[in-house]
C-alpha cells in the first residue's frame, strides 16, 4: 500500500502546496511592498497637502473675497478639497456676518455647484460624501439635490441625504423629510430621522405638530419624540391633546415635551400622567415634573416615589432632590409614607447627587445653618447614617466636623451606635476614636452595644 504522502503526491496536493506556497510568498512580498510604498506615498502626499494648506491659509482673505480668482485653485482637486474643508469648518463656528461672506464664496467659486453636480451624477461612496458636504454648506440651494438622495434605492444614500438635510438646520429642509415620513415612504433608521428633524425644526416646532396631527400611526410616535425635544410653551393646547393620545409612546413624548417647554398647564397635565398605566409614561412624567423645579409638584413626586416600578422611584427621587430649599419638608413627608423602598431611594439619591454634602457644607453658613440642620436630622431619621458618621470623622474642615458631631449627638438616634461599631477598627487614629467615644457617651450614656463590645475587646 503506497503511503498517504505518496498518494497525495500522486493526486496533486503536493503540487498544490507548492503552488499555494508560491502564491503565499508572492502575497507576502506584495503586501510588504504595498505597505511600504503606501506609507512612502502618503508621506509625500501629506507633505504636499500640508504645504498647500499653509498656502491656502496665507491667502485666505483673497480666496474668500475673490481677489484670488477661483480658477487659481478650483481646478486642482487637492486645493479644492482643502479650501472646501477650511470653509466648512469655519462655517460651523463663524458669526452671522462672516457666515454670509463664506457662503458667498461657496457660491461664486463654484464649490456649491460642483458638489450639487457630484451629488446628482456620482454613485456610491463619492455620492455619499457629496451629499454630506452639501449638508454642511447650510444653503437652501442644496435641498433639491438632497431630496433626490432621499428617494434613492440605496439605503446608504438615503442615510447620507437624511444626515445632509439635518445638517442644513433650516425649517425648509425638514419639509421633504416630514412629507415622506407622514406618508410612510422614507425608510431610514429612526435615530437619524429624529436628529435631522430636531436640528431643522428647532425654531419652528409648530411645523412638527402640524404634521404630527395628520400623520399615520407609525410616524406619530417618532414625530412626538421630536416634539419632546423642541417644544415651546405656545404649543400647550397641542401638547394637551397629545397627553391624552391612545398611543403610550405619544403620551410619553408629550410628557417629555411638557418638561422641555414648561407651559403653564404642565403641572396639571403631568399630574394626570403620573397615574398612567404604562411605566415609561409615568417615568417621563416624573422626570418632566422634576425639570419644572416647582415646589407644588412635591406631593406628585412623592406619589411617584412610592411607585411600583423602580425606575419611576429613582427618577422621582432625582426630581425631589433638585428642590434643595425644601429638603426638610420632602424628607419628613417621605418618612410619613412609611414606604421603606421610597425612603431609601430618596436618601440614596440625596447622597448620590451631593445633596448631603451640600447640606453639611451649608451648616458653616449662619444664615442657612438652621434649615440645613433640620434637613440633616430628617435625613438621619430616613437612614442616612454611614455618610454622616464618615463625614464626622473625615471631613476636611474641623469646624464642620465639630458641628456635625454635635448635631448627631442631639439626634438621639441609637441606630448610629451600631454603625459606629463598624467604624471602630483597630487602625483608627486616636482623634477619631475619641470622637466616636464622645458620640457614644452622648447617644447612649449607660448601655450601648458599642461600649459593651469595646469592653469585651479590652
Amino acid at each position: 500500500m503506497p503511503s498517504v504522502s505518496r498518494l497525495l503526491d500522486l493526486m496533486g496536493p503536493a503540487g498544490l502546496i507548492v503552488q499555494a506556497l508560491l502564491a503565499s510568498l508572492g502575497a507576502v512580498v506584495g503586501l510588504l511592498a504595498f505597505i511600504l510604498m503606501r506609507r512612502g506615498a502618503r508621506r509625500v502626499y501629506f507633505w504636499r497637502r500640508d504645504r498647500r494648506v499653509l498656502e491656502a491659509r496665507a491667502d485666505w482673505d483673497g480666496i474668500v473675497d475673490g481677489t484670488i480668482p477661483p480658477k487659481a485653485w478650483v481646478l486642482s482637486r487637492m486645493s479644492r478639497e482643502i479650501v472646501e474643508g477650511i470653509l466648512l469648518d469655519r462655517l460651523e463656528v463663524a458669526p452671522p456676518k462672516e457666515c454670509e461672506r463664506l457662503l458667498e464664496c461657496l457660491r461664486f467659486s463654484g464649490l456649491l455647484d460642483t458638489r450639487v453636480h457630484e451629488a446628482r451624477i456620482w454613485r456610491g461612496w463619492q455620492r455619499h460624501k457629496a451629499l454630506l458636504a452639501l449638508g454642511r454648506m447650510r444653503v437652501p440651494e442644496a435641498i433639491p439635490a438632497l431630496m433626490e438622495g432621499l428617494d434613492d434605492d440605496d439605503e446608504q444614500c438615503r442615510i447620507a441625504a437624511t444626515r445632509g438635510l439635518g445638517r442644513l438646520g433650516l425649517p425648509r429642509a425638514a419639509v421633504p423629510i416630514l412629507e415622506r415620513l407622514s406618508t410612510g415612504k422614507l425608510q431610514v433608521p429612526s435615530s437619524l430621522l429624529l436628529d435631522a428633524l430636531i436640528d431643522n425644526c428647532r425654531a419652528t416646532p409648530a411645523l412638527v405638530l402640524t404634521y404630527l396631527l395628520k400623520s399615520v400611526d407609525t410616524a406619530k410616535p417618532l414625530l412626538a419624540r421630536v416634539l419632546g425635544e423642541i417644544a415651546t410653551p405656545d404649543l400647550d393646547e397641542g401638547l394637551l391633546l397629545l397627553a391624552s393620545d391612545e398611543s403610550s409612546e405619544v403620551r410619553a413624548a408629550a410628557a417629555r415635551a411638557l418638561g422641555c417647554a414648561k407651559p403653564s398647564l404642565a403641572l396639571s397635565i403631568l399630574t394626570g400622567l403620573v397615574d398612567d398605566e404604562e411605566w415609561f409614561v409615568r417615568l417621563r412624567a416624573v422626570v418632566a415634573l422634576g425639570e419644572l423645579e416647582d415646589p407644588r409638584a412635591i406631593p406628585v413626586l412623592l406619589h411617584g416615589l412610592c411607585d411600583r416600578n423602580r425606575q419611576v422611584r429613582i427618577r422621582s427621587a432625582c426630581g425631589l432632590s433638585r428642590l434643595r430649599d425644601h429638603l426638610e419638608d420632602i424628607i419628613c413627608l417621605a418618612l410619613k409614607t412609611q414606604d421603606a423602598y421610597a425612603i431609601q431611594e430618596l436618601v440614596s439619591e440625596l447622597e448620590r447627587s451631593g445633596g448631603i454634602f451640600e447640606l453639611v457644607t451649608a451648616m458653616g453658613d449662619s444664615r442657612r445653618r438652621a434649615k440645613a440642620e433640620a434637613a440633616l436630622l430628617a435625613a438621619l431619621r430616613g437612614g442616612c447614617r454611614r455618610i454622616l458618621l464618615d463625614l464626622v470623622l473625615n471631613h476636611e474642615d474641623w469646624r464642620t466636623r465639630g458641628m456635625l458631631a454635635r448635631l448627631l449627638s442631639r439626634s438621639a438616634d441609637t441606630e448610629l451606635l451600631k454603625i459606629m461599631e463598624l467604624f471602630d477598627s483597630p487602625g483608627l487614629p486616636l482623634r477619631k476614636r475619641r470622637v466616636l467615644r464622645w458620640l457614644e457617651r452622648q447617644l447612649a450614656p449607660t448601655q450601648s452595644p458599642f461600649s459593651q463590645a469595646a469592653k469585651v475587646v479590652a
Binding site: 503511503s3 504522502s5 503586501l31 435615530s191 431609601q344 447622597e351 447627587s353 454611614r386 464618615d390
Partner: protein
C-alpha cells in the same frame, strides 16, 4: 497496523489545516473590506452628532478591580475624563488584598454611604458602598472576593442605573472619545444593536500622562511584541471578519457595551464563568434567537481601549491558560447550540468553528506534531512534502499576520513611526517559532485546568499603566 493509522491521521490533519487556513483567508478578506468601509464611514460620521444628540443614551461604566492598586487610580481618572454626554463609573473592589480600596478612598475622597443596593443578580456579600465628595459620577462598591470577575461585574450591574453598561477592565484605559465611537452603532440603530465591542490594544511601551496615552509606541520586550501582533490579528481580522458575517461571539471583557435590561434578564455575567465575556455574548445570541428577535452584536474597530499585557512568561502563560479554560467552560455550558438549527448560523458556523478551530486546536496541533514524528520514524513521511508543507504553513501564517498590519496601515495607523512599522513587520516573521508552540502548551494547560475543575481568577503581574520596565524611545 500503526502505519496506516498514522497516515490517515496525517491526512486528516492536513485537511483540517487546509480548512483552517481557508477560513482565515476568508476572514482576512472580509475584514479588509469591512475595515475600509468602516474607515470611510468614520470619516463622515461626525462624533459630534453622537455627542450632542439628545438621543444618545447614558452609560454605566462597570470596572471590576481585584488587587489593582498599581493602576486603579490612573484608570478611574481616565474614565472620568471620557468625552460622553452622560455616564457614571461604578468600581467594584472584589475583595482585594492590596491597597486598591485605600487608594480609591484617598484619591477620590470617598465616603461610606447608605446607598441603596438591590441585589437583583446574586453575588457575594457587599461590604459597603462609597460615594465621592469630589466626583459625583463615581460609585465604589466594596465586596467580598467572588473568585471570578463575573461576580464583581454583576455586583456593579446591580447598581447600574443607566440603560447601557460598559464593562472596562481596571488595568485598561479608554481613549477619550472611545465611548462616543463605540456607541455610534447603538445610537444609529438602538432597536437592534444589543451589544458592541471595541478594540483592545497594548499599552506597554507607550507613554501615559494624566490618564491618557500621549505617545503610542511599540513595547521593547519580545513577549509584549508578540502580544501586539496577536491582538492586531485577533481584533482586526478575527472580530472584524466575524462581525462582517454577523456572527460575532466575543466582545472583549476589557471593553464592551451591553444593553442593561438584557444583561439583567439573562442574570448578568454567569457566576463561575471564567470567560465571562464570551459566555455572555453566546448566551445573548442563544436567548435572542430563541425569542426570534432581530438583533445585532457589533464590533467597532475604532474605539480603542489600551491595556497592559503581561510581560513575563509565567503571567502570560497563566492568562492564556485561563482564557482557554474559559473557552472550554463556555462552549461546554452552551453545547446545546452546536449544530442546532434553532440558532441559525451561530449554531451551524460560529459555534462549530469555536469547537473545532479554537478549543481543540492545541490538541490537534499537538497530535499533528506527534504523528509527524511517528511517521518520520517509521519512514512513512515524504520529506520533500513535509518540508514544503511546513514552509507553506510558515509563509501562510506570516501572510495572515501581514494582513492585520495591512489593515492597521490602511485604516487606523496608530503606530506612525517607521521603526515601529519595521518592527511590526519583522515580528510577523518571528512569531511562529517558538512562541506559537509555547502558546499551544499554555492552551493545553487551560484544557487540563478545565478538566480538573480549576475556576479561579488568577492574578496577572502588572507594572502599572504606562510604566514600562524599559524606557520607550523618543519619537523621531
Amino acid at each position: 497496523m500503526i502505519g496506516p493509522i498514522v497516515q490517515w491521521v496525517n491526512a486528516l490533519l492536513f485537511f483540517y489545516y487546509l480548512a483552517c487556513n481557508l477560513i482565515y483567508l476568508r476572514l482576512l478578506l472580509a475584514a479588509i473590506k469591512a475595515s475600509v468601509s468602516q474607515n470611510r464611514r468614520q470619516k463622515t460620521a461626525w462624533l459630534d452628532r453622537v455627542r450632542r444628540s439628545p438621543l444618545t443614551p447614558p452609560i454605566s461604566l462597570l470596572v471590576p478591580a481585584h488587587n489593582e492598586e498599581c493602576s486603579i487610580v490612573e484608570s478611574v481618572r481616565s474614565l472620568l475624563r471620557l468625552d460622553y454626554p452622560e455616564f457614571e463609573v461604578i468600581v467594584t473592589n472584589d475583595g482585594s488584598k492590596d491597597g486598591t480600596l485605600a487608594q480609591l478612598i484617598e484619591h477620590f475622597q470617598l465616603t461610606q454611604s447608605d446607598y441603596l443596593y438591590l441585589p437583583q443578580i446574586e453575588t457575594k456579600p457587599v461590604r459597603g458602598v462609597y460615594l465621592s465628595r469630589t466626583e459625583r459620577r463615581l460609585i465604589v462598591l466594596d465586596k467580598e472576593a467572588g473568585g471570578a470577575k463575573s461576580d464583581a461585574i454583576n455586583a456593579a450591574m446591580n447598581l447600574a442605573s443607566k440603560p447601557y453598561v460598559c464593562v472596562v477592565d481596571a488595568d485598561s484605559m479608554l481613549e477619550r472619545d472611545g465611548l462616543l465611537r463605540i456607541m455610534a452603532p447603538v445610537v444609529n440603530d438602538p432597536d437592534r444593536v444589543v451589544a458592541a465591542g471595541g478594540i483592545v490594544r497594548v499599552i506597554n511601551g507607550s507613554q501615559v500622562k494624566n490618564g491618557s496615552v500621549r505617545d503610542v509606541r511599540l513595547p521593547w520586550g519580545f513577549l509584549e511584541m508578540m502580544q501586539v501582533e496577536e491582538y492586531l490579528r485577533a481584533f482586526l481580522i478575527g472580530r472584524e471578519g466575524w462581525n462582517a458575517f454577523n456572527m460575532l461571539l466575543i466582545i472583549s471583557g476589557a471593553f464592551g457595551v451591553f444593553r442593561t435590561d438584557l444583561c439583567k434578564q439573562l442574570g448578568g455575567f454567569r457566576r463561575g464563568a471564567i470567560g465571562e465575556d464570551l459566555d455572555l455574548v453566546v448566551r445573548m445570541h442563544r436567548y435572542l434567537r430563541e425569542q426570534d428577535q432581530k438583533y445585532r452584536v457589533h464590533f467597532v474597530a475604532d474605539p480603542v481601549c489600551w491595556t497592559e499585557v503581561p510581560s513575563t512568561f509565567k503571567s502570560l502563560g497563566n492568562q492564556r491558560a485561563r482564557w482557554h479554560n474559559g473557552l472550554a467552560e463556555c462552549l461546554w455550558h452552551n453545547r446545546r447550540m452546536l449544530f442546532n438549527s434553532r440558532y441559525g448560523r451561530i449554531g451551524w458556523v460560529a459555534i462549530p468553528y469555536m469547537w473545532l478551530f479554537e478549543l481543540i486546536a492545541p490538541v490537534l496541533e499537538c497530535l499533528g506534531w506527534v504523528s509527524i514524528l511517528v511517521a518520520a520514524l517509521m519512514g512513512l513521511l515524504s520529506r520533500r512534502f513535509f518540508m514544503q508543507f511546513l514552509l507553506f504553513g510558515y509563509v501562510f501564517s506570516t501572510l495572515i499576520s501581514m494582513g492585520s498590519v495591512l489593515i492597521e496601515e490602511m485604516t487606523y495607523r496608530r503606530y506612525n513611526n517607521w521603526r515601529d512599522l519595521g518592527r511590526l513587520i519583522c515580528f510577523c516573521f518571528l512569531e511562529h517559532i517558538p512562541y506559537r508552540q509555547i502558546h499551544m502548551l499554555w492552551r493545553l494547560r487551560g484544557i487540563w485546568q478545565y478538566l480538573r475543575g480549576n475556576h479561579t481568577w488568577t492574578k496577572i503581574e502588572r507594572v502599572g499603566l504606562g510604566k514600562s520596565p524599559k524606557p520607550s524611545v523618543v519619537a523621531g
